[in-house]
Each structure stands twice: as structure tokens, then as C-alpha cells.
Symmetry: C2
Subunit: 407 residues, 2 copies
């Protein structure tokens, strides 16, 4: 029973430590090649250059008539209609003095250099194929309604960089370039252990002094959303030897251990005690909530010890683990950061980076949900954003601008 | 081969039609009860009231000493230290004139009404349990560092409303309230069919006039992210009878059919032709890209016919299907909408709602990626936001404010 003196380290300095802890997990050997759809939510492991031009050939942007622009003088002219060009066909060269009905996306015939939309033609409809017909078209500049070959990306140009998060748009681009699979960074396997004699599984009887474990669900859901593979062990009691045994059993099968609770300065700090003899440091980060943090390794496996209150857990995950995963592995997608105006005043401990929970409205204001208390899970459940009050700020007024991360 | 005259309908009017089409799928009979973690990403199907107070009992917000505030006069006093209160214990009543070491989250002993943080005590450390000791404590107002019973939510109060998206925070709250499972809206089964003679599967040889299918990957990834169960059939050619056969075979097993391509005014519009005789309407929405849209039902199954360009597909999904799913089923989570300043000028067809792609920076500016062209998949892959230019706007200047949806 003793207190350790605590010097606060900054949020940035602790994030640097988390990055240094996890960086060795990113190796060039540890890359998976996955079919595109299975790669959804992963980080790209290599730079990818376009293997072809996009579009692969000049094509029409409209349903209309492909022409040689030089054939139509100012004031327009009548042209003979030749066979139509459907999308997917390889058309013959366009004879001089003719117009070819062409569909959106269809290849421009050789010689044609412009498309007149059907709406501008007289008559403004396509003739039946095979029947002799003419059409009157207005003068049209070369290039009009033509999508040039390579106008989206040229063959050989950088298409996606290593570390890019693979969402629908990125996977769509890979498909457009003909890829069927893609090398991605692995998904880390995490052992998640919630601790505390006061904590019982939801669904169990709730005795006096006890609370239901929400950290396990809150963090496992956050980790799954971030693409991690989570192993849960159930709740560990406050007996250090029991926790140490549990960690020793599971450590060989995971890439990272995350614990909650037991890292503070109280008399019964199970994670601190279970980690005795291991290379784990317990620090006080200048952050509210989520100040007490453990970091190091247990049996060679990286360990992060988050504090025990639910909001502190979530803030620890969002401030340290999630952004470092994004930096190192390209996934999950970074939280969108925006500027917003406070709907109300707030106070903050000036020596700490305060992270409040709030609701960002479309008009750019953010309303705080609940107070600063780290036990307020109902307030958390109403929030869609984290509100940052930087170190050195003691108070902000309604209307002041803050940085907000959208959850 | 003919053109149909097209009157444009507004984005809002078309979204209303999509909502009306899908609303019958939301019935009180069709609800699943899922374990909390499996409910991640679903919409809550019922209103949930708190079955208990949170916190369930008054507890300490700090590691420190629980006291009766009336025992300590101005200027402070020395109190006898009694047995400590660990988290999870049900403590005895606090004798008058004593202080109990108490850990964060531990139940306040009956009679105690304030906590003095360990840092303010003299000595500022906990005595070894069982050894007689006293501690000098400052005067402390009743309620200090006590989390009152029900201060987050009271038993019986509304906790989460029907239709709430279940993310980590909401599931964490349900766990804190003791729930192990939760009634949620179902995940719709979607048949996704990409069409077009010009479209070939990625990985196949690419003949002249052909492009790789990116719509299938782009939309399946978007749909999976939105929690839909997707069946893909491969690419249908431009032969209407082949598409009709394929739809007829799969329709009984799905809740919704989404097609891409073949809904425009060209000469070869396979979806239009395959839907002949079914209750499907082809309309022109006042939107760019994504104007041509099909909507109706095929063999009794709701159908949405998106246009064939990749960007048009994505915009159709994001503007019509995704927001309607959120409204009706509570999932996926709504796209965050924020105001941003344009980094550059743009022009827009004044009669249409233009949707551009862009990159939102943390300083609140948004840069456009690529032009308005709906074939620009590389530009789409660089974007993190949709930029809205409302109907009636022909031009915007750099610095003008726009609504942006974060992807």
C-alpha cells in the first residue's frame, strides 16, 4: 500500500510510446493477399500503380451521335446516319460525312472526335438500325462529351499508396483496374481482459457494491469496428495471480493485450500487481479522463493497460490505440476531425488535455453530453463526437471553436 | 428505339418514393433478438427504459477517504482511519468521527457523504490495513467526489429509443444496464446485379471497348458497410431475357433487388427492357450524377435501378438507399453532415442537385476531387466526402459554404 509519485506526460508523448510499442508488428513479411471484398476495412500493404489507362479507351459521355467535328460547319448540317455503336462494341472507323448513334460509355469510332447529345439532334431520336436516315446536328467543338483515354488515371501513374484505408471507393478503383485481390496489412489479434471485483457479467445477479461490466462490450465493439480480432476472457477478479495466469495462458495466441482497470494509484490495483516483474510502466497522462495508463510487454506481447471507467476506456482507445493502428496499418479509417463551435461554456483542468463527449449538429455547433465524469455511459451513448480541450485551456465560452472527432 | 419525354423529379421526391417502397419491409413481426456484440451495426427495434439506476449506488469518484462532511470543521481535523472500502465490497456504516480509505468506484458507506482525495490527506498515503492510524483531512462539502445513485440515468427513464443505431457506446450502455441481448431490426438481403455488354469481371481479358466491372465491388462494399447481406450474380449481358430470367430465379430469396446500368434513354437499356410488364417506373431525378433511376417491384420484390457509371451508382446509394435504410431500420449510422468552405470555385447545372466528391480537411475547407464526370473512379478513391450543390445554384466561389457528407 503505497503511492507512486506521478509526473504527467503529454497525450502526444504517450501516443508516441504506443506507436513505438506496436511498430515492430508491422513487417514486410506479414502481409496477406485477400480478394477485394474481404479486404474491405483493411490497410493496403504496397503502393499500387495503374496497370492500364482509365478509361481504357476514348468513349462517349452521352447517348447521342459520334461525329468528326470538322464535318459540321457553323449553323449545323445534315449527316447520313451509319450503324449504331453500343457500349462494349469495337466500332469501325467513322466514314467522313456521317454520324454514328453512340451510347454512353461506348468506344468512340476511329476518326470521330465529338459527341452531339441526342437532345440536340433533329429529329431527337435514334433511327431504327438498318433503315436509311439522316440527322441534322449543330456545330460541335472537338472533344465535346468525349471521355479521353486515361483522363481519370494513366497507366503507370500511382493509383493508391501503401497504408491507404480500403473502403468502397478504393476497392472500386482496384476493380476498375482489373485487380481481383490485393495485399493488405494483417488484422491484429487482441486479448481483452476487463478486471475488477466490483464488475459482474451482464445477466448475472447484481449484488450490493457491484456493477455490470460495460467496458468489455464497449471496447470489443470498438475494436471490432476498427477491424481487430478480439478474444475475451471474461472478467478477471482483483487477485493478481489469477490475472497473471490468465495472461500467461493467452499471450502466445495474440498480438496485443488490452486490460481495463487496476492501473491507478489505489490500494488494489490488480493490473499493476499482475505485471510486477514484467516490462510494464504505469504512467499518468495529462488527459482527462483516461489519465492512468499502463504500457509495456508481458511475456513478449505488447500490453496496454487502460483505466477502469467506461468513458476512460473509450477515450484511451480513441486517443491512443485507434490512431496508432491507422498510422501503422492503414486501418481503421481515421476519425474525421472538424472544427465546431461550442453550444455552451465549459471548464477544463488547465494541466490536462480534456476529452468531452458531445453531439455535433449539421450547423457546426457541438453540444456537450453529460459532465466530465468518466462513469457517464448514458451520456456517452447519446454522443456522436469527442470534443478536444487542449492542455493549457482552463475555460471556453459558448461559441468558441474546438476540434471535434466524429465517432 | 424511342425516347421517353422526361420530367425531372426532385431528389427529395425520389427519396420519398424509395422510402415508400421499402417501408413495408419494416414490420413489428420481423425483429431479431441478438447478443449485444452481434447487434453491432444494427438498429434497435424497441424503446428501452433503464431497468436500474446508473450508477446503481453512490460511489467514490476518487481514491481517497470517505467521511461524514459534518465531522470536519473549517480548518480541517484529524480522524481515526477505519477499514478500507475496496471496489465491489458492501461496506459497513461509517462510524461518526472516522474516515474510511475508499477506492474509485467503491460503494460509499452509509453515513458518509463526501470523499477527500488521497492527495489532500496528511499523510497522503493509505495506512496498512489493520494498523491503528489517523489522518488529517481538510473541510469538504457534502457531495464532493461522490457519484450519486442514478446520476447518469434513473431506473425507468428512457435509455435508448427505437431506431437508435447500435454502435459501441449504445452497446456499452446496454451492458451497463445488465442486458445480454437486444431486439434489432433485420439486415436486408439484397440481390446486386451489374449489367452491360461492355462490362467484364476483373481478372478476365479486357477486349476492345470493354471495361472492368467496378460497380459490383463498389456497391457490394458500400452495402456490406451498411449492414446489408449481398448476393451477387455476376454481370448480366445486355440481353433482357437473360436478365429477367436471372431476376426471377433470385427474387424469392431476397428483400430487395438493385441493378446498375440500363436505365437511361439509350437504344440498349437492358434493365428497362427486362422490367417491361413489371411495375417499375423509370424516372429522371434532378440530380447530377445519378439522374436516371428505376424504381418499382419485380415479382413482388422491391427494385432500385441505379445508372451504370460508378460514381452515379455510389451517389445513388448514398442519396437514396442508405439514408432510407437509416430512417426505416435505424442502421447504418447516418452520414455525418457538416458545413465546409469550398477550396475552389465550381459550376453546377442550375436545374439539378449536384453531388461532387471532395476531401474535407480538418480546417473546415473541402477540395474537389476530379470534375463532375461520373466515370472518375480514381478521383472517387481519393475522396472522403460528398459535396452538395443544391438545385437552383449555377456557380459557387472559393470560400462559399456548402453542406458536406462525410463518407
Amino acid at each position: 500500500m503505497h503511492r507512486t509519485e506521478t509526473r504527467h506526460i503529454s497525450v502526444e508523448a504517450h501516443r508516441d510510446k504506443v506507436r513505438a510499442l506496436l511498430a515492430p508488428l508491422r513487417t514486410d513479411d506479414w502481409v496477406e493477399r485477400l480478394p477485394l471484398l474481404e479486404a474491405l476495412g483493411r490497410g493496403l500493404a504496397v503502393d499500387i500503380a495503374a496497370p492500364l489507362d482509365l478509361p481504357p479507351f476514348a468513349n462517349s459521355q452521352m447517348d447521342g451521335f459520334a461525329i468528326r467535328s470538322g464535318d459540321v460547319p457553323d449553323g449545323g448540317t445534315e449527316l447520313r446516319v451509319v450503324a449504331p455503336v453500343p457500349a462494349g462494341a469495337a466500332p469501325a472507323e467513322l466514314p467522313v460525312g456521317t454520324a454514328a448513334p453512340i451510347m454512353t460509355g461506348a468506344m468512340m469510332p476511329a476518326g470521330a472526335d465529338a459527341v452531339v447529345p441526342i437532345e440536340q439532334a433533329v429529329p431527337d431520336s435514334f433511327p431504327a438500325p438498318g433503315e436509311p436516315a439522316t440527322v441534322r446536328l449543330p456545330a460541335t467543338a472537338a472533344g465535346t462529351f468525349v471521355r479521353d483515354i486515361g483522363s481519370d488515371i494513366h497507366s503507370g501513374e500511382p493509383a493508391l499508396g501503401s497504408g491507404t484505408f480500403l473502403g468502397p471507393g478504393q476497392l472500386g478503383l482496384l476493380a476498375a483496374m482489373g485487380f481481383t485481390d490485393v495485399p493488405v496489412r494483417p488484422s491484429l489479434r487482441v486479448l481483452l481482459v476487463t478486471t475488477g471485483d466490483e464488475v459482474v457479467e451482464p445477466g448475472s445477479p447484481l449484488g450490493p457494491g457491484k456493477i455490470f461490466d460495460s467496458n468489455g462490450t464497449l471496447l470489443e465493439a470498438s475494436m471490432r469496428q476498427a477491424g481487430l480480432e478480439v478474444t475475451r476472457t471474461g472478467i478477471s477478479t482483483d487477485r493478481p495471480e489469477e490475472l497473471a495466469l490468465l495472461l500467461r495462458r493467452h499471450a502466445p495466441d495474440v498480438d496485443l493485450i488490452v486490460t481495463t482497470g487496476g492501473v491507478s494509484k489505489g490500494a488494489y490495483e490488480v493490473v499493476r500487481q499482475a505485471m510486477a516483474g514484467h516490462d510494464v510502466e504505469f504512467t499518468a497522462v495529462a488527459m482527462q479522463p483516461g489519465g492512468p495508463q499502463g504500457i509495456g510487454s508481458f511475456d513478449g506481447v505488447p500490453v496496454l493497460g487502460f483505466p477502469g471507467n467506461p468513458v476512460s476506456c473509450l477515450v484511451s482507445f480513441e486517443m491512443f490505440l485507434r490512431p496508432v493502428l491507422t498510422e501503422l496499418f492503414g486501418a481503421p479509417a481515421p476519425r474525421p476531425a472538424v472544427r465546431a463551435r461550442l453550444a455552451e461554456a465549459l471548464t477544463s483542468p488547465p494541466g490536462k488535455h480534456q476529452v468531452r463527449r458531445g453531439t455535433l449538429a449539421p450547423d457546426g455547433t457541438v453540444r456537450l453530453e453529460g459532465g466530465a465524469g468518466s462513469h457517464l455511459v448514458h451520456a456517452l451513448a447519446r454522443s456522436n463526437a469527442l470534443v478536444h480541450v487542449p492542455e493549457g485551456t482552463a475555460a471556453l465560452a459558448a461559441g468558441d471553436e474546438v476540434e471535434v472527432w466524429i465517432l
